[in-house]
Subunit: 360 residues, 2 copies
Amino acid sequence: MRIKDVAREAGVSIATVSHVINNTRFVSDETRARVMSAIERCHYYPNANARSLASGRSRTLGLLISDISNPFFPELVKSIETAAFERGYDVVLSNTNYDAARTSNYVRRIIERKVAGVALMTSELDSSLIAELARRHVSVVFLDLGSTGVRMSNLCVDYAVGIDEAIRHLVALGHKRIAFIGGPKRLRSAAKRFEAFRESVVRHLPSAPPPTVYEGDFKLEGGQRAACEILAEEELPTAVMAANDMMALGALRELHTAGLRVPEDISIVGFDDIAFAALAHPPLTTVCLPRAELGRHAVEALMASIEHPEQQGIEIEIPTYLVVRESTASVRRTDGREFKPTRDAKREAHGDEQQPQQRR
Amino acid sequence: MRIKDVAREAGVSIATVSHVINNTRFVSDETRARVMSAIERCHYYPNANARSLASGRSRTLGLLISDISNPFFPELVKSIETAAFERGYDVVLSNTNYDAARTSNYVRRIIERKVAGVALMTSELDSSLIAELARRHVSVVFLDLGSTGVRMSNLCVDYAVGIDEAIRHLVALGHKRIAFIGGPKRLRSAAKRFEAFRESVVRHLPSAPPPTVYEGDFKLEGGQRAACEILAEEELPTAVMAANDMMALGALRELHTAGLRVPEDISIVGFDDIAFAALAHPPLTTVCLPRAELGRHAVEALMASIEHPEQQGIEIEIPTYLVVRESTASVRRTDGREFKPTRDAKREAHGDEQQPQQRR
DNA sequence: AATAAATCTGCCAACGAAGGCACAGAGACA
DNA sequence: TGTCTCTGTGCCTTCGTTGGCAGATTTATT
């Protein structure tokens, strides 16, 4: 069942069969029809490995993330996979598991496979690996990793818009003391989130005392620990913003077991809008990092740089936005009555509230 | 940077280089060392496509699931990917998205790629596709799809053990009226879960009235709808078991908004033990389907059938087990006092309570 | 009718590595 | 010294496509 058999069956040359399959040069309708029917009759499936060898590229995209079981990733992976599928590309998934050795091993495999492009979203990548990918002419798109000097595509998450929306939302609800639970400082994404928070608070609460900041680990436990610290403060904040939803959820749990009611006693805002967020109790107000969109853009950027290797280095900004749910509410005034929210606080955020599905 | 260059650099033949790389025939230590250093000096990365073409097999595993964003899958994918990585295989991920056309497209691609093996866990697979895979000599392992007649490996989830544990747990807590929220009847896995439930109830509550059964959709909404129906009953059950966690979570939410306290007023048991389960409020008692184990076994079975194509058709049972959290408690007696639980109810389940992580 | 310009198709050399076949050289043994 | 058996390597075909080059046929042009 090789192309040769199809050619014989159709009474044409191998080249012609190849060209009708790939649409790579004109073939008359009549010949094309003969070839098609021969392909059908032979149950011919082209050998992808032979094609890749001959053409030098495989119709494959690499996807290098840290851990698919981190609830941030599945949606991203799905959208990338879907976009790739539509373009005839397959996706090979690689979890670095936060392990540098493993990561470099993956990079090697990606190169050996002549993968057409890679989407990267893991901090385990040092510059030598990136240089290696560049040297081997693998198209690369960084997802929120900050530009790395190399002329490669880069999708940049705009943390500021969403976080600013969140702060405005809180301020409109009367909050003035807003604590922040950040991620590990060494991580770029954590730094960017914090910076956006800080600037926004300065802008909207210029006269308020500077917010207290706790360093978390982007995990549930970090949120819980931070919440404990918060609870130990003399004066509690009226709202807490966490740099990601897992920590927000951790804080939520901890504050709850401490007897505080959310949002009546304290408001919580998360970041990412993972599937859990909508299912939490109460459903979490959070800033959505639109991962499906990120994935789509990633594949588009990859395709562009595969097809036009000369014009590398696209930069795209992915905006974030607030999704208001039930973990935020008006701050209670010292006289026990509720703060009267301004109109801004009631405005609906444009989040599309999808519930995660379950079915097999 | 082809093997030819390495051969010249090392002063040996192409064949020798190939053989040191693949460890496929004896090479003297001295020659081997020369080759290794030449490989190093040349920064030689073997071309995976050429290797696959020449050998007829690519070191790739296919993974065909319905939807990675379904919280059931990420852990499974991770364990498969990890096990494959350790054996030098890459994983190409395919989401069928519950779409038959897409699925058959994927099967075609899998064949074209000369993938060494595929793990299947999606119901969008008709027998003609399976036959096609068999004809093209692709090793296949079914994950909980029921034996399909074909002589292929099959990992079978043993629902009965875990569900029986759950029912014993509930009965020990004094529950006698246990409702069941099932999955879509057409799905094999849903049928198996229900059957296990039914048998267990008959065994442990022989004199009780037959439990009421609600048909759900394996999604949050299905659980909510079922809970509504339950709330409309004249006599409420004291416990609800759902065929998966998403429905259990949906029911939990609905019962909660209806003013019922879980577990004080009604107990809930889920199935799967997805990451959400431990984060719910209250944390969900559920039957764990150990997906990491399932994934490991899948890869092992695949490797076995790749290396010994003659002895196909391995069958393995994956046990399930109860994880007791806080959504189940003693039933309240009609006199208002608590039912005194038997010792069985307090026994710790052997679940390893891992929190999902978040970090990038 | 001769010629030029399109159309359409075939031939064949890559692509990079695997693996069967064969052979040189070293040591064993007579 | 001749023969036999290992050991360790090299040569060369093969894997199934792609794509450059050129050839054959048809159609437009003068």
